[in-house]
Chain length 199, copies 2
Amino acid sequence: MKLLVVGANGTLGTAVVHEMKDTAEIIQASRKNSPIKVDITSTDSIRSMFEEVGKIDALVCTAGAAHFGAIEELTPELNSIAVNSKLLGQVHLVLLGLPYILDKGSITLTTGILMDDPILKGTSSSMANGGVRAFVKSAAIEFPRGIRINSVSPNMLEESKEKYGSSFEGYEPVPAKRAALAFRKSILGAQTGQSYTVY
Amino acid sequence: MKLLVVGANGTLGTAVVHEMKDTAEIIQASRKNSPIKVDITSTDSIRSMFEEVGKIDALVCTAGAAHFGAIEELTPELNSIAVNSKLLGQVHLVLLGLPYILDKGSITLTTGILMDDPILKGTSSSMANGGVRAFVKSAAIEFPRGIRINSVSPNMLEESKEKYGSSFEGYEPVPAKRAALAFRKSILGAQTGQSYTVY
């Protein structure tokens, strides 16, 4: 099976690639430092990627940025980072990528614990996560050709604890390889419309 | 208390105005046909509205559009209707309106049952609803000055059954006045960060 991982270069993407490499032929994409370059905030860039990659069995996205900042300082402009990347970047991968997914293929997107268990300064990211989760739940019921779609919501990753731990006091970090298992379940299982929480 | 209702002219907005009119001095806003005109897809229009209205105790938004269509025909452009209206229209009302909300005031936004219980052709609306719910949950923990924020998720309204009922087979419609009670609870209660479901 052919698996396209968008965000393959990040902590979570790397773990997904590692988890799936014995099962799938993996095509790695990211903004920089991957064989395939893609900027998910640009629909042109997404279109070019799919034209280059062609038909695939599975699409995973672990990419998506958001601005972190206090709600009183969150402007529409700063909020648009999460809208255009974490939310619409992933949604557009689905809308533009659907014709490239083979029959009975799958799509797996990434959300995050903040939508369920918020932290200070995380509102913009929470919003994007919640939008992606609901999009997935709804899209699943009308996907054609037996194609499935799920999302994975990881807790703070153990690998990111040093960098972000002070914002996540009391959260129980999960190793990226545990979160990667949820992607494996989504890709190789039969469920659709699910939000897999790895908390 | 001074209550600004955005979308005052719609089915739900009218019910909220009716529910609250004995308790609050209500300022009605909508795109057309209300004393105050506002287009929530425009940050300039939102800014002008708040400058015109001034300080308020409570803000309610029952406005927000979305494109309904099959996922295979949902383009980024058609999806942007829900993003700019139902999702960002409401989010921007919060971000730009926060300085106008008096101490211990409240904001109440509107989502909808589709995010929990999807229908065909409703993915774009579901996405926006899910984004608003998560935004509210997260924003609530860092709002200043005792200001609260909740969202209300109504089922299909009884008043809309004739128009939309064929898309909602098996759903149990709720009268708009029942949904309006959830707004009353949000405005006059003490809870924050909640998603009140009226299913």
